[in-house]
């Protein structure tokens, strides 16, 4: 596999991920506006999000119950996952190219990412 073909492959997968997350966010958004479009909004004071929208399991449950905020949040999580997927795909890509050096470099980036994400949880 050449650099160029690898990049096109990664680019296509990334595009798909972005598209799926945008569609999910848009569906949730349409639902939210249909239900609450005429309510008055206020973001001047911070209340922190509902606990169930602050972790993956809770978000999935809320989305499964077709709650608009849950669906949007699920789309956001998918979007956040795209750069991580990009690094993971690069590891595989460099492996297929027999490029040991950059496979290791990408693995290190992936490990640091995993560390900071788990550190959060």
């Amino acid at each position: 596999m050449t650099d160029e073909r690898l990049e096109i492959f990664i680019g296509n997968l990334l595009r798909l991920g972005v598209l799926v997350s945008a569609v999910v966010v848009a569906i949730g958004g349409a639902l939210y506006l249909a239900q609450h479009g005429h309510e008055v909004v206020n973001y001047q004071s911070f209340r922190s999000e509902l606990p169930e929208l602050r972790n993956l399991a809770g978000i999935c449950i809320a989305a499964f119950h077709l709650r608009s905020d849950g669906i949007i949040q699920l789309g956001l999580v998918l979007l956040i996952a795209t750069p991580v997927a990009r690094v993971a795909l690069a590891v595989i890509g460099f492996y297929l190219e027999h490029d040991r050096l950059y496979m290791v470099v990408s693995l290190i980036v992936l490990a640091i990412l995993a560390y900071s994400m788990m550190h959060a949880a």
């Binding site: 680019g11 990334l14 939210y32 309510e39 972790n55 956040i80 050096l101």
Partner: protein, 279 residues
């Protein structure tokens, strides 16, 4: 303001943020955070959460287009991303020990200098350097990118300097909670002598990875609001896609000037925030 009207206005702001963010490699947060905080009086914590989402949307939205155009350099991006993410962890650790006001002001002054260079500096684009230095050659960082119909080969220099600057960029983003796109572009463009379009697009790739690293933290703290983030994401994705299409056609000089103007505004914002103690 009703939810519908608010959504439409924030969406439009997102389009602008994504457009400028993708064009300059800075990520859209530079535009979005002040707009949300100053114009719509959104609490800074929600604004930071939305900004993080915005940066990832800029990065991923633009990257899909760039990668196919063959601008961004994945090897350079990955190698430097090690420095940025390590720097970010270091910065978050240091944040509790040092005064961020002073750092914000110093960073603002550095950006002012960089803005001056971008706007009034001598012509820097007279022919890309084709030769890499020995370390960059060993790391196989040289590549080529499209110029008009052809592909122009370029070399890479000063990897250690670029790597150190990226450590600093990451630490700044950890310390100040801002995207470090500005330092990334400057480090690649100035220190490593990478062509400007390759620098901005590679920065676009990197900022998404850096932002994703901290997104978990902010989601867990409840900073990411779905109702506010929804128009941001949809607007920024559209804007970033548009921005990436324009970048391909735009002359480098125009891009440099746009970059210069935006980091000038960022510099003012940093100095102001540092001076009034908002950082």
């Amino acid at each position: 303001m009703t939810a519908l009207l608010f959504t439409i206005i924030v969406w439009a702001t997102g389009v602008l943020a994504g457009f400028l963010g993708a064009l300059t490699g800075l990520g859209g947060g530079v535009v979005l955070v002040p707009a949300l905080a100053l114009l719509f009086h959104v609490d800074i914590k929600y604004a930071i959460g939305a900004s993080l989402v915005c940066v990832i949307a800029t990065s991923s939205g633009a990257a899909a287009a760039y990668v196919k155009e063959g601008y961004s350099n994945i090897r350079i991006g990955m190698l430097l991303e090690i420095a940025t993410t390590l720097g970010a962890i270091l910065g978050a650790f240091l944040a509790t020990h040092i005064s961020t006001h002073a750092i914000a002001i110093v960073f603002g002054l550095v950006l002012l200098h960089a803005a001056y260079q971008s706007l009034f500096g001598k012509k820097q684009d007279a022919g890309a350097l084709v030769e890499s230095d020995s370390l960059a050659a060993k790391l196989r960082l040289a590549s080529d990118y499209p110029v008009g119909e052809q592909r122009q080969a370029y070399g890479v220099r000063n990897v250690p300097a670029g790597f150190s600057l990226m450590l600093g960029a990451g630490a700044l983003s950890g310390l100040l909670g801002i995207g470090s796109g500005a330092v990334k572009v400057i480090a690649m463009d100035r220190a490593m002598r990478i062509p400007f379009k390759v620098s901005t697009t590679t920065s676009n790739f990197m900022i998404g990875v850096t932002a994703a690293a901290s997104a978990g933290v902010y989601l867990g703290r409840g900073y990411i609001d779905p109702r506010l983030s929804m128009p941001v994401v949809l607007g920024v994705l559209a804007g970033a896609f548009l921005g990436s299409k324009v970048l391909v056609k735009a002359p480098v000089r125009t891009l440099r000037v746009t970059f210069g103007v935006i980091i000038f505004l960022l510099a003012i914002e940093m100095i102001f925030n540092g001076a009034v103690g908002k950082v």
